[in-house]
Symmetry: C2
């Protein structure tokens, strides 16, 4: 493990003669830019880093030296060279520590231990009910965290450096508290950050489940290399994670992406739990698909769904998706109708936002190509040609793991941001962070 | 005028001993941050600048010294002080040069001369027809530029430092060329930048008319202080400028904000010029409002509009707005219906994007409070409570001048961006920029 108690100042050696650490100044930005380029795999040699950052080669060499001394980078192997001294290859010390992350959904949760770079070491999933309120649900997360730590044992790389949590509702990112979350009774303003920081003495970041899913797809999944992306989660609810020019767009109250309550029908019969009429979620969400499947089972239109109902006592959206993929025409109709409604919403989003990629994920998306085809057909028909000229619409490549992957990305990005990094190095140790961050 | 031929290097004096200008490194970023904070009115003293930038006071003092030497900042007056040496107040030299800007719409254009800070020195407006193609329309802009320059004469501050152009269609910002603009026949890929750069030997930037309008409102108008904003232009067409976390969101092809073609009706009778059915613009754009007004004049429902039709031979959206403000119930109905449709589109946008402010501008918005009231009512009724909790919906405060104001903001932001600034200082003079920028 690197020695973070070193009191080596971050000032540039060439500025010479100072005995105190330098104040936060340009040198910290340069340090973080160099670290990011190696950490995110953009550059591996000092020459590449100089080209990427636009910094002088002397400045890059100094910053690389500081990061090597602190154990955040290592030099290893030998790159190829056409002559002279062979270039050495820089690598981020992914295994310098580990992270604990949780992706809490409405009806299930997944927790994981990852390296600093977000590589999964171990993970577990369990059903949950977010409606039970914060105490029992966070206790369940905490129990799973402890079980993971016990299971991994001494194979865990380094110390715990940070914790990341995703929850199914709007979050004020700065404080890590839910803000009036519609499907999370009792969670409004609950101090999720403090709950885990107090127990683990590590810094904690919290965000919306769809935002962390979008971060996961952006950095390690289907959206890698894209700058303007909309990630749709089709599950019990319907939500979107939005990436604008490479950064998460959270909106003024952190509620951006609440696309489940965009009106897609004038039918006065369809009342949503939000109180409005014709909301997308009320017509095409997981509960709506299950309800339509159960109706088809009861009135005899689908003998396959009727058999499932007789056996299990209820029909879920997953049942409808399974029967559709087996060819039940009624189930196919239900999914295609849902796809067209999701597509109608996305056509508006494409005209407004002009993404280069839409990623479809979440439990309902597990039904795959059938749903994707009807979404695509509607989006391409109803959006402007310029906006769809280079638009791709894909299924999530990370599936159920997008959330925990993204939560790890969120924590690493925050740990190595200029603001947090400066306080963290000054404090001498990551264990000193929670007080600073909170 | 400051002496831009000075070959003073941008390197930090304390790094000593170098005879060549420093390579682009941290010092340039610091220089631009200090300049921006003074230029945009955030800080006026070295102490304020140190607090704002997080840079050390020594670094700030060096950068301020370089900017004073180059004539971009001056020290003037005396700030108040509670003791010791009174602090001197820094000011950006707004009058060090001037800009020429044009806001070209579908049926009218406005050109202006401004200071570097975007203060209007003189402006003129004329009708135009963007459908005539680039050569005649840009020639009209050029004639107006020359007329402005002649009229202002020796009162123009300094030299011409840059040119900014807004056009009513998607633009690839990097090259300044329109990309498949639907209402600009003949303009696709036309080199607007080169047209003016060749004639004026100054750098040129081009963007969509609604994007520059949004920049104007953001920096000097109704949206000042907001981070997440949607600016709607209601004119012949309907478009949106989008601000995400303080920056313009242009989208993957530069076509973000094309909200006129979001579907707001299932009526198969309403065919839009884009070929789709039920587009917002086909139902609530300026042409649609005029058409409905003319129908009401012809079938005798509105004697007031009939009188206008008899006199002028046609009805415009402005005629309908005028009669509505005078109380004609038929004109009021037409405008309210349009407002409800714009509101329905905005309700979706609010759920997706969660802005803290929507600004309504453009010719049709000149009808004022009547239209605003029906837009507001629909948005607040159909969006989620959290997203509208702190949402304001306001009329443009800059009106017809938002475009030219925003074009000046665009040019100044580009001139003083780290990337352009470094090449500009190296080249010794702003007159040397077009080759570098193009």
């Amino acid at each position: 493990m690197p020695d973070f108690s070193a009191d080596r100042p971050l000032s540039t050696p060439s500025s010479g003669g100072r005995t105190r650490p330098a104040p936060a100044d340009d040198s910290l930005d340069a340090l973080v830019r160099v670290l990011d380029d190696v950490r995110l795999g953009r550059g591996r040699s000092r020459a590449e880093l100089a080209a990427l950052t636009g910094l002088g080669r002397g400045v890059v060499a100094e910053r690389v030296g500081q990061l090597l001394e602190r154990g955040l980078l290592v030099e290893e192997g030998l790159g190829s060279s056409t002559g002279g001294r062979p270039p050495r290859s820089l690598r981020f010390v992914d295994e310098a520590g580990h992270l604990l992350v949780a992706d809490v959904g409405a009806t299930g949760m997944r927790v994981a231990m990852t390296t600093l770079g977000g590589r999964l070491i171990a993970h577990r999933a369990e059903p949950t009910d977010v409606g039970l309120g914060p105490e029992p649900v966070l206790r369940q997360v905490e129990v799973l965290f402890r079980a993971l730590v016990d299971a991994v044992g001494s194979a865990a790389p380094g110390r715990l450096w940070g914790i990341g949590i995703g929850v199914p509702g709007p979050v004020e990112f700065r404080t890590g508290r839910p803000v009036a979350p519609p499907i999370m009774p009792g969670w409004n303003d609950y101090p999720i950050r403090e709950y885990f920081a107090d127990r683990h003495h590590a810094p904690v970041w919290v965000d919306n489940d769809v935002n962390i899913m979008a971060l996961g797809e952006l950095r390690t999944g289907a959206a890698a290399g894209h700058e303007n992306v909309v990630v749709i989660k089709l599950g019990t609810g319907i939500g979107a994670g939005i990436v604008s020019e490479g950064r998460l767009h959270r909106g003024a109250q952190g509620s951006a992406g609440d696309v489940g309550h965009i009106q897609v029908s004038d039918d006065p019969e369809v009342i949503c739990r939000c109180g409005n009429r014709g909301c997308l979620e009320a017509l095409a969400g997981g509960a709506a698909i299950a309800r339509q499947g159960e109706a088809a089972a009861r009135d005899g239109r689908s003998p396959w769904l009727a058999a499932t109902l007789a056996e299990a006592g209820r029909i879920t959206a997953a049942d409808v998706a399974r029967e559709a993929s087996r060819g039940d025409p009624v189930a196919v109709d239900i999914l295609q109708a849902a796809g067209r409604l999701v597509g109608a919403m996305l056509a508006s989003v494409v005209n407004f936002f002009n993404p280069s990629l839409i990623v479809i994920g979440g439990g309902v998306a597990g039904s795959g190509d059938l749903l994707l085809a009807s979404i695509r057909e509607t989006v391409y028909r109803r959006s402007l040609p310029l906006a769809t000229r280079d638009l791709a619409i894909r299924l999530s490549s990370l599936g159920d793991l997008a959330g925990v992957n993204g939560a790890a990305v969120m924590v690493a990005d925050q740990l190595f941001s200029p603001d947090v990094f400066s306080r963290w190095v000054d404090a001498g140790s990551p264990a000193g962070m929670p007080d600073i961050v909170a």
